[in-house]
C-alpha cells in the first residue's frame, strides 16, 4: 500500500485557490522532492497535509496508509505518523524545550497505544538522539526555539522528528536560511532517519539540499499541481535552466 497518497487535491486560503488538483504517491522507504517556483503552492501542500486550519480543502483526498488524513485533527495526524518540519519553526516563550518534547512524545505514544516514557527513559532517549544529531544539550534548556539561530531551529525540528518516529516526514524548505555547514548537519540528520518503512517529502526551491538528501523521485510543482516527475537528474536540470519554463505551465 502507498504510504502517502494524494489525489486531485484542491485547497484555498482566504478565497484564493492554491492547490488545483495535485496528485502524488509516496511509497514506504522513498524520498520524494518537490521543487517549484515561489508561489506554486509548495508550502500550502505541507500545511494542508498537516492540518492547519487557515486552509480550506475544496476537493480531492489525502490518505496515510489508506486512512483519510483530511478528516483528522492536526495532533491525530501526528499520532498516525505524519510529521511536518516547519520552514519557520515557531518560538514558544515560557515553554521549556524538554517539557514540550516530553509532552509531545508521550501524547503520541499514548495515542499509538504505547506506554508513556518515564522521566529517566525520556532523558536517556533525548540524550541519545541529540548526540546522534550533533545537538548541544544546553540548547534544550531554553524555551522552545527562543533565541535559537536559524540552524539550531532546523536541527531542533529534526530532533523532534527523531523523537516522534513518524512514518511520513514532510520537510518544508528546511534549507531556507541555512549556511552550508548547517545544511550538511540537517541533511545528515535526515539521512540517518531514512528507513525502509519511512517516507520523505522534501520541499525545496533549490537543488543544493538534494545534493545532500538524494531523492528517489523529483516532482516539479507549478500553479498548484505536479507538472513533471522524474529522477534526481531533474533537479540538476532545474538548477541549470531555472523555473521559467514552468511559469506558464499547467
Amino acid at each position: 500500500m502507498a504510504l502517502l497518497e494524494v489525489k486531485n487535491l484542491q485547497a484555498r486560503v482566504e478565497e484564493k485557490d492554491i492547490l488545483r488538483g495535485l496528485n502524488l504517491t509516496v511509497n514506504p522507504g522513498e524520498v520524494h522532492a518537490i521543487m517549484g517556483p515561489n508561489g506554486s503552492g509548495k508550502s500550502t501542500l505541507s500545511y494542508v497535509l498537516a492540518g492547519k486550519s487557515d486552509y480550506e480543502v475544496t476537493g480531492g483526498s489525502a490518505t496515510l496508509e489508506g486512512e483519510d488524513l483530511l478528516e483528522l485533527e492536526p495532533d491525530e495526524r501526528a499520532a498516525r505518523g505524519l510529521f511536518l518540519a516547519f520552514q519557520y519553526p515557531i518560538e514558544i516563550p515560557g515553554v521549556a524545550s524538554m517539557t514540550f518534547l516530553r509532552t509531545a512524545v508521550n501524547a503520541v505514544r499514548k495515542k499509538r497505544g504505547d506506554e508513556e516514557l518515564s522521566t529517566p527513559d525520556f532523558l536517556r532517549l533525548v540524550r541519545e538522539k541529540a548526540k546522534e544529531l550533533n545537538i548541544d544539550q544546553n540548547m534544550l534548556k531554553r524555551p522552545v526555539n527562543v533565541g535559537f539561530s536559524g540552524g539550531e531551529k532546523k536541527r531542533n525540528e529534526i530532533l523532534q522528528m527523531a523523537m516522534l518516529e513518524p512514518k511520513m516526514c514532510v520537510l518544508d524548505e528546511t534549507d531556507s536560511g541555512l549556511d552550508i555547514d548547517a545544511l550538511k548537519i540537517v541533511a545528515d540528520g535526515v539521512n540517518r532517519l531514512r528507513a525502509k518503512n519511512r517516507g520523505f517529502l522534501v520541499i525545496t526551491h533549490y537543488q543544493r539540499l538534494l545534493d545532500h538528501i538524494v531523492p528517489d523521485v523529483v516532482h516539479v510543482m507549478a500553479k498548484g499541481k505536479i507538472v513533471r516527475t522524474g529522477g534526481p537528474e531533474l533537479a540538476h536540470e532545474l538548477e541549470a535552466k531555472g523555473y521559467a519554463a514552468y511559469d506558464n505551465a499547467a
Binding site: 498537516a50 492540518g51 485533527e73 501526528a78 514558544i92 515560557g94 514540550f100 509532552t103 501524547a107
Partner: protein, 438 residues
C-alpha cells in the same frame, strides 16, 4: 460651600454602620474604631464615579451586609481542617476561621529566635502604641475597605521579626470561612520585619462555594533597613464570595521585598496595594497571576509610591480570563521629586480565552523627578493560533496544547516566587484551575 450635604445611604451602608456600632470595642481601640466608622458613615462605599473604583463599583456590588460571623465552633473548625490550601509547604500556620483566631489550628510553639507572633488583642494589651500603626495607611486618603476594616477591628495577628533574625520557616496566615449561610468576616495582620532581618509570609483565603459571604482583610507590612521580606498570597475564596483586601507596605533603606498574588476565587474581588518606598535604594517585585472563569470579577489596584531616591520596582501581572470573566488591573507608579534614580517597570498582560471576557487595564505614571527610568506596558490578546498549530502538529491534543501555552503565560509571574516549595505549590493550584477548564 458650607451647606451640609447629607449623603443618601444604601441599605448595605446602613447595615454596616448599625452592625459595627453595636460591636463591642476593647478600650484600647475604641476611639480608633469610632473614628473609622464615622468616616465610613460620612463617605460610604465607593461607586463607579470614584476614579479608583471605576471598574469595581462597590455600591452596586454590595447590596446587603451579611451578619457578622460569630467565630469558630467545633463544626466550623472541623470544616476548616478540610478546606485549606498550601498545607504542604512546611510553613508555620496561623489560622483564622470565620475571622476568629483558632489556637488548635495554629502553631505558636517553638518560635525561632527573634520571631514573635501575638494576637492583636494581646499585643494591644501589652503596647498601646500599636494603635497608631493600625490607623496608618499610605497614601493618607479615605479608603472604604480600610475604614470598614478598622471600624470592625477585633481579631488579628501581629508578627514581628527582631533585627538581624533570619526566619527560614515560612509563616502561613490562613483565613478560612465555613458554613452554609452568608457571613461578613474581617481580619487584620500586621507584619514588622526589623533591620537586616529576613522572613517569608504566606497568606491564604478560602471558603465554601455557593455561599455569598464577604471578607475584608488588611495586611500591613513594614520592612526595615537592609531587611528582606517575601510575601505570597493566595485568594481562592468560594465562587459566590465578595473578597476585599489590602496589602499596605512600607520598605526601608536598601531593603528587598518580593510579593506574588494568585487570584482564582470569589464572585468579585478587589485587592488594593498601597506601597511606599520609605527608604533609599529599596527594591521590590510585586507580581501576580489572576485566573478567572464564569462571570468572576477580580480587580488588582497598585499604588506604588517612590518617595526616596534609588528605588527599583518591578510589577508583573498576568491575567487569564475564560468565559465572561472580567479582569481589572490598575497600576499607578508615583515618583516624587526626591526619588531621583528611580527605576520602575510595570507590565500587565491579559490572555482572553472566552469571547465575552473583558480586561480593563489602566497603567499610570506620575513622575515629578527628572532623573528616572520608568516604563509600563499593557497587552491583551487571545491564544496564538500559530503556536497552537505548532504544538498540535507535534501530536499534542488541543486542550493540552492550550494548557501548555496558558501555563507558560502565567508561569512567568509565578517564577518570581523565590521559595521553591511555595512556587511549586502555587503552580499546582494554578494547574488545578487549568485542569478544571471545560
Amino acid at each position: 460651600m458650607n451647606a451640609e450635604v447629607k449623603m443618601m445611604r444604601t441599605a448595605a451602608e446602613a447595615a454596616y454602620a448599625d452592625a459595627l456600632t453595636a460591636l463591642p470595642a476593647p478600650e484600647a481601640i475604641r476611639s480608633l474604631r469610632e473614628k473609622a466608622l464615622r468616616l465610613f458613615a460620612e463617605k460610604g462605599l465607593p461607586h463607579r464615579r470614584v476614579e479608583e473604583w471605576k471598574y469595581t463599583d462597590l455600591r452596586a456590588l454590595i447590596r446587603e451586609m451579611p451578619p457578622l460571623a460569630k467565630g469558630a465552633d467545633g463544626a466550623a473548625i472541623a470544616e476548616a481542617k478540610k478546606n485549606s490550601v498550601l498545607t504542604n509547604i512546611g510553613a508555620r500556620e496561623i489560622t483564622f476561621v470565620n475571622g476568629a483566631f483558632v489556637a488548635e489550628l495554629s502553631n505558636l510553639k517553638g518560635l525561632e529566635k527573634g520571631l514573635s507572633i501575638t494576637t492583636l488583642a494581646d499585643a494591644l494589651a501589652k503596647d498601646a502604641s500599636l494603635v497608631t500603626l493600625l490607623a496608618k495607611i499610605n497614601p493618607n486618603k479615605y479608603d472604604a475597605v480600610f475604614a470598614l476594616n478598622t471600624a470592625a477591628l477585633n481579631e488579628g495577628i501581629l508578627i514581628e521579626v527582631a533585627p538581624g533574625a533570619q526566619i527560614t520557616q515560612p509563616i502561613h496566615v490562613r483565613h478560612i470561612v465555613t458554613g452554609t449561610s452568608p457571613v461578613s468576616v474581617f481580619g487584620r495582620a500586621v507584619v514588622k520585619v526589623g533591620a537586616k532581618a529576613q522572613a517569608t509570609l504566606v497568606q491564604s483565603h478560602v471558603g465554601p462555594d455557593t455561599v455569598a459571604y464577604q471578607t475584608n482583610t488588611v495586611l500591613q507590612l513594614s520592612v526595615a533597613d537592609d531587611a528582606e521580606l517575601d510575601v505570597v498570597r493566595v485568594q481562592a475564596e468560594g465562587d459566590k464570595a465578595i473578597h476585599l483586601s489590602m496589602m499596605i507596605g512600607a520598605i526601608g533603606n536598601e531593603s528587598r521585598f518580593r510579593s506574588f498574588a494568585l487570584t482564582t476565587g470569589g464572585a468579585a474581588s478587589r485587592h488594593t496595594v498601597p506601597f511606599a518606598y520609605a527608604g533609599r535604594n529599596a527594591r521590590a517585585t510585586i507580581a501576580g497571576a489572576t485566573l478567572l472563569r464564569g462571570k468572576q470579577h477580580a480587580d488588582t489596584t497598585l499604588e506604588i509610591d517612590h518617595a526616596m531616591p534609588g528605588g527599583e520596582s518591578r510589577e508583573l501581572y498576568k491575567t487569564v480570563l475564560d468565559d465572561e470573566a472580567n479582569g481589572v488591573f490598575q497600576g499607578l507608579i508615583i515618583v516624587r521629586p526626591d526619588a531621583q534614580k528611580t527605576d520602575g517597570r510595570m507590565m500587565s498582560a491579559a490572555l482572553l480565552l472566552g469571547d465575552n471576557a473583558e480586561m480593563d487595564n489602566k497603567p499610570e505614571l506620575e513622575i515629578f523627578a527628572d532623573d528616572v527610568q520608568c516604563a509600563h506596558g499593557a497587552t491583551t490578546g487571545a491564544l496564538d493560533d500559530d503556536l497552537l498549530f505548532y504544538l498540535r502538529a507535534r501530536g499534542i491534543p488541543k486542550k493540552e496544547a492550550e494548557s501548555l501555552l496558558i501555563q507558560s503565560f502565567f508561569g512567568e509571574a509565578v517564577e518570581t516566587i523565590e521559595n521553591a516549595k511555595i512556587r511549586d505549590a502555587v503552580m499546582n493550584l494554578a494547574g488545578g484551575w487549568l485542569a478544571a477548564r471545560s
